[in-house]
Amino acid sequence: MPAIRRRLKTGTGLSWGTSMLFVLPALVLFAVFVLYPLLTALSYSFFSWRGIVRDDFVGLENYVTVFTQLPYKDEVGNAFAHNFLLFIGAMVFQNTIGLLIATLLHRIGRMKRFFQTIYTLPYLVSPLVIGYLWSLMLSPLFGPVNALLKAIGLGDLAQPWLGNPSTAIWVVVLVTAWQWIGFPILMYGAALGGIAEEIDEAASLDGATSWQRFRSITLPLLVPAIGTVSILTFIGAMESFPIPYALGGSTGSPAGATDVMSLLFYRTAFESGSTNAIGVSSAIAMLLFLVIFGVAVLMRWLLDTRERKMF
C-alpha cells in the first residue's frame, strides 16, 4: 500500500489519502442510500415472499415466472417494446427538430436566450403534471385538441387519441419527446457553443455551403454531445413512468397499448393479487435494470471507440 501511495503521489497533484478524504462523503452517501438498497432489491428477487415476509430461497424461479406465467409472459414483451418505441421516438425527435433548433439558435444572435428558455419550459414541468395536462387536453368529450381540430375544419382528424390503441402509444411517445426536447436543445447548444468559430469561418471562406459545413465540421464535433444525450435519453425512456401512468393509467389502457416496464413493475408490486408480489416485482426490476445497464454500457463503449477513431 505505501508503494502505491508513493507512486500516485508523484504522478498527480493529490495523494491517495487526500483523494480518499475528498471522495469519502460522496462514497458513504452513495453506498448507504443507493448501492445498499439496490443490492438488497437484487437479493429479494431470489426469494419467494408471503406479503412482506421473506420465505424460501428459490433461485431464479421468479425470473422464470416472469416469462412463463400469465399475465407477465403476455405483458413483458409488449411493455419492453413500448419502452424502445419511446426511446426511438425521442431520438428521432431530438436529432431532427431538436438538432435543427439548436443549430438555428446557435446562428441567430438576437433572442437566443428567449427561445432557449421557452423551449426548455416543458422540460421543467413535472412529467406527472405534463401527463395529466395532456390527458385532459385529449379527452374525447371535453378536450380542447379535438375542439380545435373541429374549429379549424379538420374535424375528420378528431380522434379518441387515448382510446385507440394505434394512436395512444404515439401520443405517449410524442408527449414524452415533446417534454424532453428542451434538454437536448440545451446540451447541443452548449456543445455548439464550444466549437471554435474560427473553424467554421475558415470553412465558410473556403466556399463551403452551409450544409457542407454542418455535415463535415459541426456534426462530427457534436458526436460526443449526441452520444451523451442519447444514453441519458435511453435511460429516461426505459424508466419512463409518470407520463404513461397519467395518460393510460396503471394498466396501460387501452388494452395494454400504452403499457411500459415501470407500469408492469408497479402493477405487480402494488396491485397484485399474488402474495409473492415482492419476489416477482423484484425480478422484473432486475430485468429492467440489466437491460438499461447493458445497453447504456454498450452505447458508451461504442461512443468511446468511435471518438477514438475520429480524433
Binding site: 498527480t12 497533484g13 493529490l14 491517495w16 487526500t18 483523494s19 471522495v23 462523503p25 460522496a26 452517501l29 452513495f30 448507504v32 442510500f33 443507493v34 445498499y36 438498497p37 439496490l38 438488497t40 429479494y44 435543427l100 443549430t103 438555428l104 446562428r107 441567430i108 427561445f115 421557452i118 423551449y119 416543458p122 422540460y123 421543467l124 414541468v125 413535472s126 406527472l128 395532456w134 371535453f142 380542447p144 379535438n146 375542439a147 374549429a151 415533446w178 440545451l186 446540451m187 447548444g189 457553443g193 464550444g194 455551403t209 452551409s210 450544409w211 454542418f214 460526443p224 454531445a225 413512468f241 409518470p242 415501470s262 423484484s282 435494470f289 438499461i292 445497464f293 447504456a296 454500457v297
Partner: protein, 281 residues
C-alpha cells in the same frame, strides 16, 4: 431539402424562414402550458361546455382554494427546504469527489468514478422497498431529512459526472502554483478551484433541482405524515380530492410549476455557460 436552405443564414428569405420556424415551435412548446394557466382562471363547467374558450370572469378563487384549502403553502415550504438542502449537500460532496477524480489517476479512483457513473443508469426507484426499510431503521421515515439523504445520494452520479469533466479541463498548474506557496490541498481547492468551477455548479444545481422538485415517487412512499408532504405528493392527494374540479387542479399544477420557471429564468446564462464548458472537449 428545405432544411438545407434554412440552414443558410444570411439572405432575408432564410432569415424569415428561420424566425418563422422558431416561432412555430414556440407555440408548440408552450401552448399547452398557457392553456393550463388560462384554465386555472376558468370554472369547471365553463371548461366542460367550451373546451377552447378564454376565461370569462377571471378569478383567483381556484388559487385561493389550492393554496389554503389544499394546504399548498406548507407543501411548498417542505419542497423548498428538501430541494435546496439536498441540492446543496449533493453538489458539495460531488464537487469534492469530482476534484479527487479529476486529479488522481489511480485505478481505484477510476473504478470508483465508474461506479458512481453507473449510478446514472440505475433505476434506483425500483429499490423503493429496501430504501423504505433502511430509512425506517434509521428513524427517518416521515422525516424530511430522510428524503434529503436519498435525494443527495441520487444526485451524486450526475453531479460528479458533470463536475469532473469540467474540472479535468482546468490545468493542474493552477493549484500547483498555490501549493508551492504553501497552501494545503483543501486550501488550494477552496481558493483556486471553487471560483473557477461556478458555471458547472450552476448547471448541476439546476439539473438536480428540477427532478427533485418534481419527484413524487419517493416522498409518496417515504413521507407518511401530512406535515412532511412535498408539493408533488400534495398534488397527487389533491388529485384524489378534487378529481373533477379541474379549475383547482389547473391552479395547483400552475403553482407547482412557477418556482422552476423563475429559477430557470434567473439562471439560464449560468446554465448555458456551464454546459458549454462541460461539453466542449
Amino acid at each position: 431539402m428545405s432544411r438545407r436552405s434554412r440552414l443558410q443564414s444570411g439572405t432575408p428569405l432564410t432569415r424569415t424562414a428561420t424566425q418563422t420556424f422558431l416561432w412555430i415551435y414556440v407555440v408548440v412548446a408552450i401552448s399547452p402550458l398557457i392553456l393550463m394557466v388560462l384554465n386555472s382562471f376558468r370554472t369547471t363547467s365553463e371548461m366542460a361546455k367550451n373546451p377552447l374558450g378564454l376565461p370569462q370572469n377571471p378569478s383567483f378563487a381556484s388559487y385561493e382554494k389550492a393554496w389554503i384549502t389544499a394546504d399548498f403553502s406548507s407543501y411548498f415550504l417542505n419542497s423548498m427546504f428538501v430541494t435546496i438542502t439536498s441540492v446543496i449537500i449533493s453538489t458539495a460532496v460531488s464537487l469534492l469527489a469530482a476534484y479527487a477524480f479529476a486529479r488522481s489517476r489511480g485505478k481505484f479512483f477510476r473504478a470508483l468514478e465508474g461506479l458512481f457513473l453507473s449510478g446514472l443508469m440505475l433505476p434506483v426507484y425500483l429499490a423503493i422497498l429496501p430504501i423504505f426499510y433502511l430509512l425506517d431503521s434509521l428513524g427517518l421515515v416521515s422525516n424530511l431529512w430522510g428524503l434529503i439523504m436519498v435525494y443527495s445520494a441520487l444526485g451524486i452520479p450526475f453531479s460528479t459526472f458533470v463536475l469532473a469533466s469540467f474540472l479535468r479541463q482546468l490545468p493542474p498548474e493552477l493549484e500547483e502554483a498555490a501549493r508551492i506557496d504553501g497552501a494545503g490541498p483543501f486550501r488550494s481547492f477552496l481558493a483556486v478551484i471553487l471560483p473557477l468551477v461556478r458555471p458547472a455548479i450552476a448547471t448541476v444545481v439546476v439539473f438536480r433541482f428540477v427532478p427533485i422538485w418534481n419527484d413524487f415517487f419517493y416522498p409518496l412512499i417515504l413521507m407518511r405524515n401530512r406535515d412532511a408532504y412535498t408539493l408533488p405528493v400534495g398534488l397527487t392527494r389533491f388529485f384524489g380530492e378534487f378529481q373533477t374540479d379541474w379549475a383547482t387542479l389547473f391552479a395547483g399544477l400552475t403553482l407547482a410549476t412557477i418556482p422552476l420557471v423563475v429559477l430557470f429564468l434567473l439562471a439560464t446564462r449560468q446554465i448555458v455557460s456551464g454546459l458549454t464548458a462541460g461539453m466542449s472537449k
